[in-house]
């Protein structure tokens, strides 16, 4: 069976610097995969490559066996990839509900003239989109904030709005860039529960995270990047003690250095 997501020798160079180098990565359906590595390891660049924001230099990206590298972000989203950003990027002048409704755009198939004329079909579609968006807000626990202006929502909740906005277009793969950044222990716990519930619904999640506790708690597998290369991969407990990982984070201890 073809994996949900596969990259083959995926490479991104910025001038002489290889931010992602010859990366082979496979994510299965319904898997929660953590992506860790020191700062500058190429984690965010990888996410940008996967969702089409940054064009790759070489290599392939396949979603369910189909090439998606070279597609525009909106086309990648339509094929089933949702993502959030490290610093939330909401539409500040829309309400929370409207933000999430925008996520349904590529599924809506709205037609212009019936919309302008206010025909019943167009109104029914609008109600359906709203219902979907409310469901997604329910999933992330923000049903009560639907009519707030997005700009007035606290930072941590903005990230949850982003997740709802990505969920509403029914992705098969969700890419999250440091979803727990800035969250306290209680909020992180809720986020872990949310990710577990998404996995239960068959969604695959690929997330970048620095909260090691969260990685240990929710990830099925962990991939460790350093200087754009995969240096380790496996179950959280395996990766934790891996010598290459310790070296990447802490450096190599050499007796000579003290002399």
């Amino acid at each position: 069976m073809t994996p949900l997501l596969e990259t083959r020798r995926l490479t991104k160079r910025f001038g002489g610097l290889a931010a992602v180098a010859d990366l082979d990565l496979t994510v299965e359906r319904g898997e929660v995969r953590a992506l860790i590595g020191p700062n500058g390891a190429g984690k965010s660049t990888l996410l940008n490559l996967l969702c089409g924001v940054t064009p790759s230099t070489s290599g392939e990206i396949l979603l369910e066996g189909r090439r998606i590298d070279g597609l525009r972000p909106s086309a990648v989203a339509r094929l089933g990839v949702g993502r959030t950003f490290q610093v939330p990027r909401l539409f500040p002048d829309l309400t929370v509900l409207q933000n999430v409704m925008v996520g349904y755009h590529c599924r809506a198939r709205a037609r212009l003239l019936p919309t302008l004329a206010g025909l019943p079909g167009a109104r029914a579609l609008e109600r359906r989109i709203e219902a979907r968006a409310r469901e997604a807000l329910e999933v992330v626990g923000l049903a009560g904030e639907a009519h707030r202006s997005a700009r007035s929502v606290p930072f941590v909740q903005q990230r949850l709005v982003e997740i709802a906005r990505a969920l509403v277009h029914e992705p098969a793969l969700l890419l999250l860039d440091e979803p727990a950044a800035g969250m306290n222990a209680v909020e992180t716990g809720r986020l872990e529960a949310l990710l577990a519930s998404l996995r239960a619904r068959g969604l695959a999640v690929l997330f970048i995270e620095h909260h090691i506790r969260m990685v240990m708690n929710v990830a099925d597998r962990v991939t460790v990047l350093d200087f754009g290369r995969k240096i380790a991969e496996g179950r959280p407990a395996e990766v934790r003690g891996h010598p290459a990982v310790l070296e990447a984070y802490l450096g190599r201890w050499t007796p000579d250095a003290h002399m």
């Binding site: 969702c51 924001v53 525009r72 972000p73 909106s74 086309a75 989203a77 339509r78 949702g82 993502r83 950003f85 990027r89 909401l90 539409f91 500040p92 002048d93 829309l94 409207q98 409704m101 925008v102 996520g103 349904y104 755009h105 590529c106 599924r107 809506a108 709205a110 212009l112 919309t115 302008l116 004329a117 206010g118 167009a122 579609l125 609008e126 989109i129 707030r148 202006s149 700009r151 007035s152 906005r165 990505a166 277009h169």
Partner: protein, 322 residues
């Protein structure tokens, strides 16, 4: 409840205006306001909702007006209503053709490209003498008629323009509260995020641009039948700028702002004529004062007061971003 009463009062006032207004001149001003209201609503799609600066809106207006003027006077005098549809469609198609290549460029570059478009259109009006009459313009445009009932007076044109404006405003409200409108505003608020969540940004921008051109084309056809005479100097860059200033003064990003802005932008210069030759200077000072002290515009400021600090406030942000 208060809002509903205010709306009924406003509607009654608008309907009774021809009866209450003293003489033909205030009615002519009202008709011009309505034409500009349609223009401003169209420009609001592009600038206010989608955040793409266009300074060539008068070009689409001119295409609608000239199509009507040329086809109803020269060439065997075609019937007015189909010509109006044709002129509107032609403006829309031009918007589409202009939008596809230019909307891939951003900010100041897009603004310059649209200025260029407006200039080209005006040059054609001025120099294609055989068809457009050159600088002399085109006179003798027939009035519109519904059957035998000729819309040849200011009050009759007023009711037609009022009806068309109301219909177009209703369509704009539906657009705003639909997938399309939300996609426009998503592109304005954060283009990258819009793209990533599945909004095809170039298509959406082109649609906003083309729809704005359709409104402008229709405004042009109506304007030609209202004045019965058009000339190229009316459809120049200053007019595009005036329309943009209407949106800013009224409240960029708000449909009501486009309507308020059109009224202010037409009526205020007329009211300021008591300042003689300096009236445009006084007008400019007032516009600058509004921008400085009410950056959300008149309607934007009122809506903000109504909705509280958390309400929407697009204001000048789309113009200042990037």
């Amino acid at each position: 409840m208060r809002t509903r009463w205010a709306a009924w009062l406003l509607a009654a006032g608008l309907l009774l205006y021809p009866v209450l207004a003293p003489g033909g001149y205030p009615l002519r001003i009202a008709n011009v306001v309505l034409v500009y209201a349609i223009l401003a609503m169209g420009l609001n799609f592009t600038v206010g909702w989608t955040g793409q600066v266009s300074l060539g809106h008068a070009g689409f207006w001119g295409i609608g007006a000239y199509t009507t003027a040329i086809l109803t006077t020269k060439l065997a005098a075609w019937p007015a209503w189909p010509v109006m549809v044709l002129g509107t469609a032609l403006a829309g198609v031009t918007g589409l053709l202009l939008g596809l290549p230019t909307l891939k460029i951003k900010g100041h570059y897009l603004a310059l490209a649209t200025i260029g478009f407006g200039e080209v259109v005006q040059l054609v009006f001025n120099n294609w003498r055989g068809v457009t009459g050159g600088a002399d313009g085109i006179a003798g445009i027939p009035p519109l008629a519904i059957g035998r009932f000729a819309l040849d007076s200011e009050p009759r044109m007023y009711y037609l323009l009022l009806g068309v404006t109301a219909l177009l405003a209703a369509a704009a409200v539906r657009l705003r509260d639909s997938t399309f409108g939300r996609a426009f505003m998503a592109v304005r608020d954060n283009e990258l995020a819009a793209d990533v969540v599945g909004v095809p940004t170039t298509t959406v921008k082109t649609l906003a641009f083309a729809l704005g051109a359709v409104y402008a084309g229709l405004a042009g056809a109506l304007y030609a039948h209202l004045l019965r005479y058009i000339s190229p100097d009316v459809f120049g860059f200053e007019q595009s700028l005036l329309m943009l200033s209407m949106l800013v003064v009224g409240g960029l990003g708000h449909l009501s702002g486009a309507l308020v802005g059109a009224a202010v932008g037409v009526v205020l210069p007329e009211a300021l004529r008591l300042f003689g030759v300096y009236y445009m200077a006084v007008y400019a000072v007032i516009v600058v004062a509004v921008i400085v002290f009410m950056p959300l515009g008149i309607a934007g400021t009122l809506l903000r007061a109504w909705a509280g600090a958390d309400g929407p406030r697009p204001g000048l942000a789309p113009l200042l971003r990037r």
